[in-house]
Symmetry: C2
Subunit: 346 residues, 2 copies
């Protein structure tokens, strides 16, 4: 590279950032008064306020957020910890959280990782920046991490996940009931041979969904259930379904642990030359946008995304702004969205 052509380093040192004192000097007031105007909450005479704002505009002055955070011990940053942003469900979640929190003046620090250790180290960095709050989305390590945040006085809300001890606020869908309703629906339509292709067995969502499903089948004395754990990805659903269907010809119904898995299942079924729903029924979980694409038209369980995100933000902001320490748990309902991937077998 042409680093040799040594110019005299134009900026870097020159980039003078104006401070509240500069503004004060121009406006003919004290730094305190400038600060009061930009902090917003205290009284300043209209006359001086005008002068100050004019001076600030002239210099294109912006308060230094680090200095502010240092003195107030509050930052306007919120950490959002995710596990799989490539899952469209979480892309949507991220978008919504961003819109909501941005409207309230908060910045989002985004953390995504399937790897627990990376997350740990990043969480330490969140602590260094004194984030106002953290949303942990279906992530690993929820419990140890949220304890850590709590210890530092940082509010945490778990989204789509909860911990046993209920020490953190949490918002999630009643996955257990949802799975029961799905199971009931399928059983009553006459399905006999079930396969459940789940996500990782160490997440609360997976556990609850599986539990509800198994319970209903047990009640109805149906023993023909294969459980295939995997990951919450298309490929995982595809491969599991492929294996399952080549081994076990008479399966008439496959439930995906989430929609992405279910879409993978659908493609596997089709590649094998079977038809949906004529030969096999498929059900998903989440109701992501792709589920309604005509090529899939997946019957699935809708998580009430708007309500869930709204509650999460409300909870978090209440904890942050009111110092509310008592943790609350919101369990949402959701509902079945019937499309074209299930059919009666009676």
């Amino acid at each position: 590279m042409s680093n040799s052509t040594n110019q005299p380093k134009p900026d870097a040192k020159t980039k003078k950032n104006y401070t509240s004192e500069d503004v004060a000097a121009i406006a003919g007031v004290s730094q305190s008064t400038v600060s009061r105007v930009f902090a917003g909450n205290t009284n300043v005479s209209e006359k001086k306020r005008k002068k100050i704002l004019a001076a600030a505009a002239k210099l294109d002055y912006k308060p230094n957020a680090h200095a502010r955070s240092l003195i107030t011990r509050k930052s306007m940053m919120i950490g959002i910890v995710m596990r799989n942003i490539r899952n469209p469900f979480y892309s949507a979640v991220l978008e919504i959280f961003h819109n909501r929190l941005s409207a309230k003046g908060y910045h989002l620090i985004f953390i995504n990782s399937e790897n627990e250790e990376i997350q740990e180290s990043e969480i330490n960095r969140l602590l260094e920046y004194n984030v106002a709050g953290v949303i942990i989305t279906d992530a690993l390590l929820s419990s140890s991490a949220s304890q850590k945040f709590k210890r530092y006085g940082i509010s945490v809300v778990l989204f789509n996940r909860y911990t046993e001890n209920l020490e953190s606020s949490a918002v999630f869908c009643d996955n257990y009931m949802a799975a029961k309703q799905i199971a009931t629906y399928l059983v009553e339509l006459g399905h006999k041979s079930f396969a459940f292709i789940s996500g990782p067995l160490d997440t609360s969502t997976t556990i609850d969904r599986l539990r509800g499903f198994k319970e209903v089948l047990a009640e109805r004395k149906i023993k023909d259930l294969t459980i295939e754990p995997g990951h919450y990805t298309f490929e995982s659903g595809f491969r599991s379904a492929q294996e399952l269907l080549t081994k076990n010809k008479h399966i008439d119904c496959i439930i995906g642990g989430n929609d992405i898995i279910a879409l993978g299942v659908m493609d596997a079924v089709r590649v094998l030359g079977l038809r949906i729903p004529e030969d096999v029924s498929v059900v998903g979980f989440d109701n992501i946008r792709m589920s309604e694409w005509p090529s899939y038209a997946l019957t699935t369980w809708e998580q009430p995304l708007e309500e869930m995100t709204t509650s999460t933000v409300e909870l978090l902001l209440k904890e942050i702004e009111e110092g509310n320490t008592s943790s609350q748990v919101f369990m949402m309902k959701g509902h079945l969205v019937v499309r074209n991937t299930v059919r009666s077998r009676k």
Copy 2:
């Protein structure tokens, strides 16, 4: 509010954050020395370093990043401005940027918005936090925003987008050449009647892709080209294709401005009872993961995502760490990925 029930405010005041002075006191050294250990770069005797680290561990001490940023005038935060995180291409982009930058110790401040004004206000907030750098991804407002950042001495790299004056570094795919190659490929396979369903006409990607495409058709004396501008979404592609195909029966080839559009096109074609590629060929742009799902198997142009993100990060970090001011432009190649949505018509 129940301010009257005056409890002694349990935490909030109690949540003592330990400082470098506390560590210094325990370790029996000065604050300066503690700082030196955590800043990393200067000499401290091995003996004291050990003592200090032990004391720090005991208190679970973490340096305050705001204080650090205030004094160093550098933050370890990078703003990433996006336009449509729901497009899987950008979910992937975000994930990769996060992995790369997180590994280097940077935090990502995520900004997503289709609305230009919201972005403006958020960008001001980025400035308040003194971000070290900014990646602007296919966003609106690139040029005015990047100028603003530059004025504050903040490094900017544009991703998948460039501005005319070339004042900012930029990394993008050679969309013009790519479109030419796609067009040539389709023409040589004997297609006669083209439709191009594009994204918004005010983005450089759209413009370049359209230009390349039109040029080739003009060279080959093909006049039968319909251009349908829309958005980079499934619905947009779906609706445009539906309209187009009901009006204009003899179209034998539809090009989507990106993959999501192309997938929408495919579903529209199928809903109308036509077959791909027998009746209509479809081509996309990006090569997102869904393109290879068996239900679509979309022929598309692959953007070299890894190389593009790697270059972007390298460029940005070089500018940040070396104060490199000369802007560089990387134009990548990409290549056609042939699957099952195009067929010869000769």
